[in-house]
Amino acid sequence: MKAYILILLLCLSPLASAIDSRQFANPEQQQAYEELTSELRCLVCQNQTIADSNAELAGDLRRQVQEMLEQGKSRDDIVTFMTDRYGDFVLYKPPFKLKTGLLWVGPVAFLLLGLLAIVLVIRHKKTAVTDATIGTTPEKLAKIRRLLDEGEHS
């Protein structure tokens, strides 16, 4: 019985995760709010968005986003406001710049590097196999042996 109650209580836990949800009269603003708060990083707990985080700073940033939306500011205005104060690090999707280039290109570069390695390994294996098959005919083996013997005498 206890277990069932526990399971029931655990099922309720997602309801608790909605940290102060905010209501807007305008559904577009509501959507913009939800998108923005899930794209901005909480700088205290750096692996959470401000929508997820319970930190005080995240609350302040959420309030700021809400106020700016209600003032009729655009998404870009809000993103600029945040990066002016906290830098690109506040964005989960950093802009493509010289400084963030490695961040964007890195995964593709590693993928290509991996593919190159696979191609090289496969090619190497193939040539190794053909070498071995050449060596199996008795005439060729005899020839190789003769050549090796000659090499040792000289």
């Binding site: 700088l43 302040d60 700021q64 906290y86 830098g87 690090f89 090499g151």
Partner: protein
């Protein structure tokens, strides 16, 4: 003979690949370990200090604005009585204040004024003036994300340095005092 030597050399190289990969990985890990993700570079550096007009902690009817501080080198220390590492930092600030090297302004961040007053009375007051930021809006403009934080402004009102976390005595000797001396020497 030569062929065989080349052969053994390539074989050696094969065994060296894991070692080389390991060294590269170790270098990257070492760089990663030495990064300080808590110290986010401030975009405010070499830009004008954010504007503010805030009530003074010890005289709430009076306001201090950023323009009041133009023409002198000043330091802004973000602190709060609830902040544990501020307590560790406080004696260092007291010592820095005794040197009279720079105007020290305290930004009392998201704090209860009564607690803040008590803090200054019991631990000493290194600040020429402390201003209140009860709802954290000034802090937000300065990009404050953790207390304590310390900023140094030059005579033109530009932010020249930001320190995240408690300032230690060695920071004061190695960074703050030389920087303050340099800024004091600059023309207003």
């Amino acid at each position: 003979m030569v062929d065989r030597r080349i052969n053994s050399a390539t074989k050696m190289l094969k065994y060296l690949i894991p070692l080389i990969l390991f060294i590269i990985m170790a270098i990257f890990l070492a760089i990663g370990l030495n990064l300080k993700p808590n110290e986010i570079p401030s975009p405010l550096l070499n830009k004008p200090a954010p504007a503010f007009a805030a009530a003074k902690l010890q005289a709430p009817e009076q306001k201090l604005t950023n323009t009041d501080l133009l023409g002198q080198v000043w330091l802004l220390n973000v602190w709060a009585s609830w902040c544990v590492s501020c307590r560790a930092e406080h004696p260092v600030l007291n010592q820095l204040a005794q040197k009279n090297a720079v105007m020290m302004v305290g930004l009392n961040y998201k704090d209860d004024p009564a607690n803040a007053q008590y803090w200054l009375e019991s631990l000493g007051n290194p600040y020429s003036v402390s201003i209140m930021d009860q709802d954290g809006r000034i802090g937000l403009d300065w990009g404050v994300y953790g207390v304590p934080e310390t900023f140094v402004m030059d005579k033109k009102g530009l932010v020249r340095y930001k320190h995240t976390g408690p300032v230690t005595m060695s920071d004061v000797q190695a960074v703050f005092l030389p920087l303050i001396a340099q800024l004091q020497a600059e023309a207003p």
